[in-house]
């Protein structure tokens, strides 16, 4: 289950034309069509299952804003439901959907593939349909006309012997009003008899045993009990919830029972398929008793060397969807073969997504075989079609015979059968082929495709030409950035979860490009749900307008394209690496115009390292420059998502908080039910101010009993209760926080000091301490001699009052400030203004408004800034939300602009010193380092504000 959210604009709404809906269902098997009133009120939905399969669904819409866990629970409570509408009040606003259940109807896939194959079987088709007047419905007619020159595109079906309908699949035809006296065929209906005939003829000619097993279609089940009938109308997920029935279904087959229970919500999604260029094969997967190796379900007991190979093709019954490895038809058959001492191996070519006869036929044609080998095809045909096999004397096994004495042998349809059924079928096969098992012909194996020189080729990069990729490209096109962004880059992240390492990578990447696309890996194999990962990443980047987070789909580092990434025990194949980069190259070069791809260097994980290394070879082919960015370290260790996951599972929340941005932290704690909101304030359950103590112990905490407090000897300006004290022979100022605001102020001074250091502004050293149980801090006293006088800037303004022109008062203006500087310190004028603006930016980030007003000068001949610049925020507490307004706080100094907020000044004022400071800040402020110093809820609150305001200012 991989639940994602999409909004109203991505849904199909109010489609009233039935034929249009059918066309939609063909391409969107699982999707709903929603109906809303003129005022947006949710009315209901229709879907393929409802309109065509006649199922009834009681899916109540859910309210927007539920937790991920609650959303998953809704899907779990509704097995077989893959789309759930989401409402705000009674208005439809979007849909939660299971991304692992997407794609078009299998029949439509088959038709599209059949159409592609027309040129390959050109001679056979034109011979079969010679001298017929053929009309073609639909736009995609090129392949048909190239094969059948007499065919022509038509809209009116009158006057033709045959209509090739490329618009609607045969299964939908009965629902439409079609002219009865005209024969309609779909591309696959035209191709099927030709291919079957060709295959049977070829194998007969080559003396290769060919056996057909006719399964039972759902609609042709006979003597169905009431209980069976109920199950036949249920989804497999729903049937799997009935543990009592699973017991009966599995009987003594405990291994399969456990497997079914383990996958009771995702059995259908557990195995995926991928095209090899000719046909679909399974995606490799390793799990106890359920293994897919080399694209095939594992058959137990196959000897290393065999004389005869028995290939079984077919749907999920062959693959063994509902049984463990040892209970598939192939494994049971292999057991029988081994028991009787024959040297033969059974190969399972079964797929797991439905009865795809075309795919089976292509697989059969592609398999290298030799005389003596055996091809077994398990499918299901109506009696009329079966005659063709009988006419050609193809041996036939009827599944109906195999299950006649069985009870409780299938789940929701006769292809989802149990080990007992498989046993009977395997036994029937064994009896049928036993005579030929002794044969041995020492000749090379060759495939029918090679032998007949058919234009079909294996292509491991088939996904590059797939509809899936086209659909994904359509998706990303919507998010093409503004043309003003000249240089575009991309990074692919799993972000499981989003850490400061990821944000650092993005931050560094933005130094190279104007705009960055962040592709988030969509497959959530063994990781946090996509919705959570997306939330954490998007929230952490939401203020950055130069970044767009996009779904990775089934394409970007997906299980299909790069399965090794999700199965770290395996070695990465060159093919996968090339495919991954080519897929990326094809998407970006053609769609988004990306010229840079960024990678974090990888010291530990071999798979990711191999991916990075191979990027240098492949991406330049597409005009993409790979850039590798060293991972940011914390306490000497590179930040990794794995470390974060380990810390989370060990409940080391305080350590965790140092490695991840706040949205990640919040969501991870939510997942663990240890986070709560309290009237806009930010609190952590397990992390309170005690963290400060820990961090102080780690650094420089002094015991106040060790300090020689010298109180009342000196007075220090400011809001705080302050004392002079001596410790280790040095003079310090002790500041004590008596309320929430002062706690926050101390925190802002601590973080502000770090930002000052980034901006190359010297400040006094600050040490957080606890004083008599209160939050406090020591800041080193100014290192000046006892004779130097310090005058704050305000003193010089006050002096102006005694000049005639300012006799009635003097405005606290930037222009006057500069005049004073020019007069008082012409030599250091440039330096002071440079620092003034750097401080100003930090003030803005910290919600302080005291720049210059709080800036002091030593009147010792050369004027300079005071080293204990006060970084106190004007916010009152951790529940103060005024920071979201960039008008807050109002500045004390005036700049002759429309507005007098720091943000407005920083973005509007034309000043060379400001401009230089902005560039400097962009290059030097490092929020990751700031985050490393978070050790209290006040720190975290202020960090979030700095982060928010930083994004606002620079992005």
């Amino acid at each position: 289950m991989n639940i994602l959210y999409r909004q109203l604009s991505e849904l199909v709404i109010n489609e009233t034309c039935f034929e249009k809906r059918l066309e939609f269902y063909q391409a969107h098997y699982y999707d709903n069509i929603y109906f809303i009133s003129d005022c947006g009120k949710y009315l209901g939905f229709k879907s393929y299952q409802i309109e065509i399969q006649g199922r009834t669904f009681h899916v109540e819409p859910i309210q927007f804003g539920l937790s991920t866990e609650s959303v998953f629970q809704c899907f779990i409570n509704n097995p077989g439901v893959f789309r759930i509408p989401v409402v705000k009040g009674d208005e439809l606003c979007g849909e939660y959907y299971d991304a692992s259940q997407s794609g078009q109807i299998l029949y439509k896939d088959i038709e599209d593939r059949a159409l592609e194959l027309f040129p390959v079987f050109k001679n056979d088709i034109s011979e079969a349909y010679i001298n017929k007047r053929i009309g073609v419905l639909g736009d995609n007619v090129t392949n048909i006309i190239s094969v059948l020159p007499t065919a022509e595109q038509c809209t009116n079906v009158e006057g033709y012997d045959l209509i090739i309908d490329t618009t609607i699949i045969p299964q939908f035809r009965p629902f439409l009003t079609r002219q009865k006296d005209i024969k309609y065929l779909s591309p696959y209906e035209m191709l099927r008899p030709i291919l079957i005939d060709k295959v049977i003829s070829y194998y007969k000619k080559e003396n290769i045993n060919f056996l057909f097993i006719n399964g039972i279609m759902k609609r042709s089940l006979k003597d169905v009990s009431e209980e069976e009938n109920v199950r036949l109308n249920m989804t497999i997920e729903k049937v799997l919830q009935d543990t009592d029935y699973l017991h009966r279904f599995c009987g003594n087959d405990i291994v399969s029972f456990n497997k079914l229970c383990q996958h009771k919500y995702d059995l259908n999604q557990f195995v995926k398929v991928v095209s090899n260029g000719i046909c679909n094969v399974l995606l490799d997967k390793t799990e106890d008793n359920y293994n897919i190796i080399g694209g095939k379900r594992f058959t137990t007991g196959v000897p290393n060397k065999v004389s005869v190979k028995i290939h079984i093709f077919g749907p999920c019954a062959v693959m063994g969807l509902c049984v463990a490895d040892e209970k598939t038809i192939c494994s049971i058959l292999q057991g029988l073969i081994n028991r009787e001492g024959y040297n033969a191996g059974v190969i399972n070519h079964g797929l797991a997504y439905g009865n795809d006869q075309l795919n089976d036929l292509l697989g059969i044609m592609a398999e290298p075989v030799r005389k003596g080998d055996c091809i077994i095809w398990f499918s299901a045909f109506d009696n009329e079609d079966l005659l063709k096999f009988q006419e050609r004397e193809v041996p036939l096994i009827n599944v109906r015979e195999c299950v006649k004495n069985l009870k409780d042998w299938f789940l929701d349809n006769p292809f989802h059968c149990n080990a007992a059924t498989n046993h009977n079928i395997a036994t029937a096969i064994f009896h049928q082929i036993e005579k030929s098992l002794n044969s041995f012909y020492d000749v090379d194996r060759t495939s029918m495709i090679n032998s007949l020189s058919l234009e079909l080729h294996h292509n491991p990069y088939a996904i590059l030409d797939s509809r899936e990729l086209d659909v994904y490209m359509e998706y990303i096109k919507q998010f093409k950035c503004d043309e003003s962004n000249k240089i575009k880059g991309a990074v692919v992240l799993n972000a499981n979860p989003c850490t400061y390492g990821h944000l650092y990578l993005i931050q560094e990447a933005l130094k190279y490009v104007d705009f960055l696309y962040v592709f988030l890996v969509e497959d959530s194999v063994g990781s946090l749900p996509y919705m959570d990962r997306e939330y954490m990443l998007k929230e952490s980047l939401k203020y950055n307008r130069r970044v767009k987070v996009l779904r990775g789909g089934n394409i970007m580092t997906s299980e299909k394209v790069f399965s090794e990434y999700f199965n770290k025990s395996s070695e990465p194949s060159r093919m996968s690496l090339v495919l991954t980069h080519r897929t990326f190259g094809k998407i970006v070069s053609s769609t988004l115009g990306i010229t840079y791809r960024f990678f974090g260097t990888e010291p530990n994980d071999a798979i990711t390292r191999a991916l990075n290394e191979s990027a240098c070879d492949i991406l330049p082919e597409y005009g993409i420059q790979p850039v590798f960015i060293d991972r940011i370290a914390f306490n000497g260790n590179p930040i990794s998502a794995k470390n974060v996951r380990d810390l989370l599972s060990n409940n080391q929340h305080s350590e965790l908080a140092k490695l991840v941005p706040f949205p990640t932290y919040k969501r991870l704690l939510e997942i663990q039910h240890e986070y709560y909101n309290h009237s806009d304030a930010i609190y952590y359950n397990n992390i309170d101010y005690s963290i400060l103590i820990d961090s102080i112990v780690d650094s420089k905490m002094i015991s106040l009993s060790d300090a020689d407090i010298v109180i009342n000897s000196k007075c220090y300006p400011g809001m705080f209760e302050k004392y002079g004290c001596e410790y280790l022979g040095q003079k310090w100022i002790l500041k004590i926080a008596n309320d929430e605001k002062q706690k926050l102020s101390l925190s802002s001074e601590k973080l502000g000091q770090i930002l000052c250091h980034h901006m190359d502004i010297i400040t006094s050293e600050i040490v957080p301490v606890l004083y008599q149980g209160k939050t406090a801090q020591l800041s080193k006293e100014w290192d000046i001699d006892d004779t130097t006088q310090f005058f704050p800037l305000a003193a010089y303004y006050e002096e102006l009052l005694d000049c005639e022109q300012f006799a009635n008062g003097v405005a606290f203006k930037y222009s006057i400030f500069k005049q004073i500087l020019k007069e008082k310190c012409p030599e250091s004028y440039h330096d002071v203004l440079t620092i003034f603006w750097r401080v100003f930016i930090i003030d803005y980030l910290m919600c302080n408004a005291r720049s210059a007003g709080n800036t002091g000068f030593f009147d010792d001949g050369a004027i300079r800034l005071a080293p204990n610049y006060d970084n106190s925020t004007w916010l009152e507490s951790v529940s103060d939300t005024r920071f979201v307004s960039t008008d807050f706080p109002r500045l004390l100094m005036e700049f002759d602009l429309m507005k007098n907020s720091a943000y407005y000044v920083l973005t509007k004022l034309d000043d060379i010193y400001l401009s230089e400071a902005m560039h400097y800040a962009k290059d030097h402020l490092n929020l990751c380092v700031l985050h490393e110093n978070i050790s209290s809820k006040e720190d975290q609150f202020l960090f979030n504000i700095v982060e928010y305001r930083y994004m606002k200012l620079f992005e």
Binding site: K722, Q789, F791, A794, E798
Partner: protein, 118 residues
């Protein structure tokens, strides 16, 4: 009730300026600085740079600050919450100037001290 209080501003215990606070009510008050130039001139060779907010080079007899807290006072006021300085020019039943003069806290920034006016 009006209040008035005077004190000396000292540098190295040398009286360099008389400072007088007077008010009618809390919204209307004056600080008047009266420099003692004879004493100040004697300090010309020392590290003395002046009194913050007072441009001594103008050689005015009085420097009057109406309804604003001089930097000299503002900076050495260590009472918490001093931002509401208009309301804080009195401390209890005495003036802020008297309170600061009486205090054994010494503001170290401008190296100046307050002494009772006798």
């Amino acid at each position: 009730m009006t209040m008035e209080y005077s004190a000396f501003i000292c540098y190295n215990n040398i009286r360099i300026c008389k400072i007088t606070y007077s008010d009618n009510d809390v919204d209307s008050y004056n600080y008047v600085f009266e420099p003692i130039y004879n004493a100040i001139d004697l300090l010309s060779d020392s590290y003395f740079r002046g009194i913050p907010g007072i441009k001594l080079s103008l050689r005015l007899n009085k420097y009057v600050r109406r309804n604003l807290e001089p930097v000299f006072i503002f900076e050495r006021n260590y009472i918490r919450g001093k931002k509401n300085f208009k309301e804080l020019q009195r401390v209890g039943n005495i003036t802020l100037l008297e309170f600061l003069t009486d205090s054994n806290m010494c503001y170290f920034g401008d190296r100046l001290t307050l002494m009772h006016y006798e």
